[in-house]
């Protein structure tokens, strides 16, 4: 029997561009915000997990936070860095070994599309030399086929981006704070057809820290906690279609997101219909659309109706999706994005989300992250 685990502190460093402050310094800022939120001091923390994709190791943060000798594990799991840090800290407490843990993710990327080295992904050099080593192409190729098979229109892609920027205007930690209208989105320069400039997120900077506690510790502190009902991280199954693949099997395979989602729902003992608010990986507009179905919230093709009716808006009546503007409005600091989603759900469930607060008393918050080389992380939180 494992222990119940709660998030009792959540801190964020605003996403976007912060010149003169390193990625790790933004991480330290977020950790201090999370400690303040939990009413704790750094020496109270018993263990820590965290990392970044491009801004160095997390464990060096002890120089700024304090040399308390705690075990601090670096996580280097690409886009799943935040999700993996959360899973590791959750397990540390669920096992009964610790009562207070930190999960932290931060990053700082140069401007422009991510560039990756073929050899690091087990690919031949020609794949990069000829201009195929681009994550943006994968997302375009995946949504292009999906649109053909399931009748999703270009306008629906535009509506996802329009919603993201609208939510960004009322989110203090978002990068893009101005609305962008549908026409501008649809007529912007094409990056990879069918995705225009405004339909893609941009590499950015930012950091999130979360303090996790055992039930006993939370009660002892009288802290305002949100329960972690389930965390699930899954790598790709056979014959799946993922980023950076020169060849795909003709057999249709599974999807890591479907696996992670089903495992999380099973662990939580609830279904998609129980979720009050969801943060879904939106590297670009198409990803949010496909991830709505892969996570079980609708059937393939139904997104067309969902977006046309505004059912994923904050006050849309069905399921608010990416209430803080997601990656589209917040930008993508790889190591921090997965934890930003969880931060947002913590705020929503505690009803501290201000102008972007979803109505009613949201009980279950769902977050989903996806990244190279084909992995997904899902977390389900509950306000008891």
């Amino acid at each position: 029997m494992s222990e119940n685990v709660y998030i009792i502190g959540a801190g964020i460093h605003p996403f976007g561009r912060t010149d003169g402050r390193s990625g790790r310094e933004q991480g330290v800022y977020a950790v201090r915000e999370a400690l303040k939120d939990a009413g704790l001091e750094w020496p109270d923390i018993e263990c820590a997990y965290g990392g970044s994709a491009a801004a160095g190791n997390a464990d060096i943060m002890v120089n700024e936070l304090g040399l308390t000798s705690l075990p601090f594990t670096n996580v280097a799991n690409g886009c799943a860095t935040g999700g993996s840090a959360l899973a590791a800290s959750q397990q540390a407490i669920a096992s009964g070994m610790y009562d207070l843990a930190l999960a932290v993710g931060f990053d700082k990327h140069p401007r422009g599309a991510f560039n990756a080295k073929p050899a690091e992904y087990g690919l031949p050099e020609w794949y990069g030399q000829t201009g195929m080593m681009l994550t943006t192409q994968f997302f375009a190729l995946k949504i292009q086929r999906y649109m053909q098979l399931h009748g999703i229109s270009r306008t629906t892609l535009g509506r996802v981006a329009e919603k993201a920027f609208r939510n960004g205007t009322i989110t203090p930690h978002a990068w893009r704070r101005s609305p962008v209208d549908l026409d501008t989105i649809m007529n912007a320069p094409m990056i990879n057809d069918p995705l225009t400039k405004y339909m893609f997120c941009s590499p950015a900077e930012g950091a999130v820290g979360l303090i996790l506690a055992s039930e006993k510790k939370m009660k002892e502190l009288g802290a305002d906690g949100v329960k972690i009902r389930a965390v699930s991280v899954k790598t790709r199954p056979p014959n799946s279609f993922e980023v950076f693949q020169a060849g795909i099997s003709i057999e249709e395979g599974g999807k890591p997101t479907v696996l992670a989602s089903q495992a999380a729902f099973e662990k939580a003992g609830i279904g998609p219909e129980d979720i009050s608010v969801a943060q879904l990986q939106d590297t670009e507009s198409g990803a949010e659309i496909m991830h709505m179905a892969e996570n079980g919230f609708c059937k393939d093709g139904e997104q067309e109706e969902w977006l046309a009716n505004g059912w994923t808006e904050i006050n849309g009546g069905k399921l608010p999706v990416n209430t803080d503007g997601g990656c589209l409005a917040c930008g993508e600091p790889i190591g921090a994005s997965g934890l930003r989603q969880v931060y947002e759900n913590v705020q929503q469930l505690r009803q501290r989300a201000g102008e972007r607060q979803v109505p009613g008393k949201p009980r279950f918050g769902y977050s989903h992250v996806y990244g190279a080389p084909g992995l997904s992380g899902v977390a389900i939180l509950e306000r008891e």
Binding site: P124, Q129, Q144, R145, I191, I248, I250
Partner: protein, 141 residues
């Protein structure tokens, strides 16, 4: 003709074939694995004909390790030539990622017939691509 961008990427036949690998299980993969992963994998000449599985355009200059137009010393985005790419399903074999040439974006559609070809890539190298099969040829095939 330039040099092959990778000496083992396609065969040297008069009608060249893209090279994949046949796993001991019979499954066909692309590209042909290298190193320890190649053990027990036989080089396999892939079909020269396939059907379009998905597609997109590349509208901006990729960062390194891209070595095409726009990437050379003194060159930049104005020298970049946008290109089309996609996945081509080779029936019964594997779905391969490839440049698409001799086509306009608006002409591309799911399942369209394509054939393998070799195209110039930069001042030094050739690379592989797929191009539409003409209507008449497509019906004859």
């Amino acid at each position: 003709m330039g040099e092959k961008i990778d000496p083992d990427l396609w065969s040297d036949d008069p009608q060249p074939h893209l090279m994949g690998g046949k796993l001991p299980s019979g499954e066909i993969v692309f590209p042909m694995p290298v190193g320890d992963a190649a053990e027990g994998v036989e080089p396999y000449k892939l079909s020269r004909r396939g059907k379009l599985w998905s597609w997109t355009s590349q509208g901006f200059l990729p960062k390194e390790p891209y070595e095409g137009p726009g990437s050379g010393p003194g060159e930049g985005p104005p020298d970049f030539k946008p290109f089309l790419l996609g996945y081509v399903e080779l029936p019964g074999e594997v779905i391969v990622e490839s440049r698409i040439v001799d086509a306009r974006l608006e002409d591309l559609h799911l399942g369209m017939d394509l054939e393998f070809c070799i195209v110039p890539f930069n001042a030094r190298y050739d690379t592989f691509a797929f191009r539409p099969v003409s209507q008449a040829e497509s019906q004859a095939a």
